[in-house]
């Protein structure tokens, strides 16, 4: 029994219980839950109308009643941050969901049929990788008009090959397992084997990757909004606020950029940490 085998026996005992997220893991989960709550009830929580303009209060700092002060059009920053959470979450959520579903399907097809299907799909992944994602976002924006939906679709086309390539390797290993051969001999249909058996076994890996991807999605969508291709003013969105706050930052009033920037960073960190912990917990490297 080699050292490695002892280690696996020891580790398998430790794997299952959720309590093994660790303090950091729980903290990350807490941050995510708070953000989700704000994303869901942003409007209700916001003390003022996030779009009410009063340019007399342009870039005014925190005053009683307005803990975070105002943005360049005199709109209450705290309300915009709260309402902005939604688009800063719905976007990445849709992006991760779409690209995970597409990536998983392609990976499973490639892993199941192997042979030339696998080769063409992999070549397809290469081509999609070579295509600069940002160019796609801009072209789609000019095609259908900039907006969150267009940005999400553009990034989905960029994220799917990344996830597809990642999942393909794991899917190949799973479809090679002997229980798949046994099921074929038992007369199960390809669909049943892949959907009812191979996919559930891939779920821990898929979920862990999706969560890590969520962090990157928040940043990339924020980036596109920064370039004016994602969420369109006047809707509140953290990526847009970081961009909109830049002029004020130059004038020495960094509140909007840094507040929205901190939220973006906090969300990305929380998802990154949770993704790592779950992956480690499920013994996925």
């Amino acid at each position: 029994m080699s050292v490695a085998q002892v280690a696996t026996i020891v580790r398998t005992r430790r794997r299952s219980r959720l309590s093994h997220l660790g303090v950091i893991g729980w903290l990350a989960l807490a941050v995510i839950v708070v953000f989700m709550f704000v994303a869901a009830f942003g409007e209700a929580l916001a003390p003022y109308d996030p779009n009410a303009i009063d340019i007399a209060y342009s870039n005014v700092g925190p005053i009683p009643g307005h803990p975070l002060g105002f943005d360049e059009l005199g709109r209450d920053l705290l309300s915009r941050l709260l309402v902005g959470a939604r688009s800063s979450f719905v976007g990445p959520l849709a992006l991760v969901a779409l690209s995970t579903v597409a990536g998983t399907t392609l990976a499973l097809i490639a892993a199941w049929r192997r042979g030339w299907t696998d080769a063409t799909l992999s070549a397809g992944f290469d081509i999609a990788f070579a295509f600069p994602g940002i160019l796609l976002a801009i072209l789609l924006a000019t095609l259908f008009g900039a907006g969150m939906a267009v940005a999400v679709i553009a990034l989905t086309l960029a994220y799917t090959p990344a996830l597809g390539r990642l999942l393909r390797a794991t899917a190949l290993r799973e479809t090679g397992m002997e229980y798949v051969k046994a099921f074929r001999v038992m007369g199960y249909s390809d669909f049943r084997i892949v959907v009812r058996h191979v996919l559930p076994n891939l779920m821990p890996f898929i979920i862990a990757q999706a969560i890590v991807m969520f962090g990157y999605a928040t940043l990339d969508l924020g980036g596109l909004s920064f370039l004016g291709l994602g969420v369109q003013p006047p809707t509140a969105d953290w990526g847009v606020m970081v961009a909109a706050g830049a002029p004020a930052l130059l004038q020495g009033y960094p509140m909007q950029t840094l507040a929205a920037g901190t939220c973006l960073v906090l969300a990305a960190v929380a998802f990154g940490v949770l993704g790592d912990r779950l992956a480690r917990m499920w013994g996925v490297e």
Partner: protein, 314 residues
């Protein structure tokens, strides 16, 4: 080796053609007319519009425009830029070396810091491991456009250690000084990703049996680490180099904008916004060719370094 290289080259060529064709379709479908950019802001007469459309052959049918563009590429003529009213090759001239320098220095920074952080975290473990990984996660979470602001304002304006914008007057030292901050901004995200992947890969290698046998054969720890653990552990990092480059190219758009560097990323964004087909095609062509070449290089290196690949291929 020949057939392996041949296959990779063929795939590379297909990738280049497919990508440029996709760009062509996308731009062709985009509504609006590049001509508006030329005449922006000043009332124009119909004749003037006509003359301009002819000059930039905006009325040729779809396929002929693609193949004439492709034909041109082979003779070094990348066509006319509508937005800049100049030869595209003239526009690309100064920008290609700038972006290559920027992406190159960022790539080196990513590899140097990413790898060393990852290795130290994997070998040391414990506090250092958690600390490095925590900072890596934090750094990778900061978007390029935010880190650019912070770097300029702190290191260039307040501390004055580095120049704030541009790439200097071309002399090596001056260019280097100018490239430090933008490279750091570009390298942050990817560097953290490399650190995390290196750590995972080196740790799995540490657990392998052949490391135990090397120890039991009395090979000193230092040599076991360098010859067996690191050499095998760092191979997979090579394979994600392709992925990294794609990410860097996107990143340059933000960094070049923030540091006022005239590079391909910035040019791509402005050109795409103004539907300046010739420029978008040219930039995409260069990016895709660079991407394909790097992938082939990585495959050759992998072939050379990892015999297992060789036996599978044969």
């Amino acid at each position: 080796m020949k057939s392996f290289l041949g296959r990779r080259m063929l795939l590379g060529l297909v990738t280049i053609l497919a990508t440029t064709f996709l760009v062509h379709i996308a731009l062709y479908l985009a509504p609006g007319d590049p001509i508006d950019v030329l005449t922006a802001g000043k009332p124009t007469t119909p004749e003037r519009l006509e003359a301009l459309r002819a000059q930039y052959h905006l009325d040729d049918p779809f396929l002929t425009r693609y193949f004439s563009w492709l034909g041109g590429v082979f003779q070094g003529d990348l066509g006319q830029s509508v937005a800049f009213n100049a030869d595209v090759s003239l526009l690309m001239g100064p920008r290609v070396p700038t972006t290559l320098l920027l992406v190159g220095s960022a790539f080196i920074m990513i590899m140097v810091f990413g790898l060393s952080l990852g290795i130290v975290a994997a070998l040391r473990g414990g506090v250092i491991d958690t600390a490095t990984m925590a900072t890596a996660t934090l750094l990778s979470a900061i978007p390029a456009f935010v880190s650019s602001f912070v770097l300029i304002n702190v290191f260039a304006l307040q501390l004055g250690w580095f120049p704030a914008i541009g790439i200097g007057d071309g002399t090596p030292i001056d260019t280097a000084r100018h490239l430090v901050l933008p490279s750091v901004a570009l390298a942050l995200g990817a560097g953290a990703f490399v650190a995390r992947t290196t750590r995972a890969s080196v740790r799995t290698e540490l657990g392998r049996d052949h490391v135990a046998t090397a120890t039991v054969r009395g090979i000193p720890r230092r040599l076991v680490t360098s010859r067996h653990v690191l050499r095998n552990g760092l191979l997979p990092i090579l394979s994600i180099a392709g992925l990294l480059l794609a990410g860097l190219i996107v990143g340059t758009a933000f960094v070049e904008q923030a540091f006022a560097i005239e590079g391909l990323g910035k040019l791509l964004v402005t050109a795409a916004r103004q539907q300046d087909l010739a420029v978008v095609q040219a930039v995409t062509l260069i990016l895709v060719v660079a991407f394909v070449l790097l992938n082939i290089l990585v495959d050759i290196l992998y072939w050379y370094l990892d015999p297992r690949v060789r036996s599978e291929e044969a």
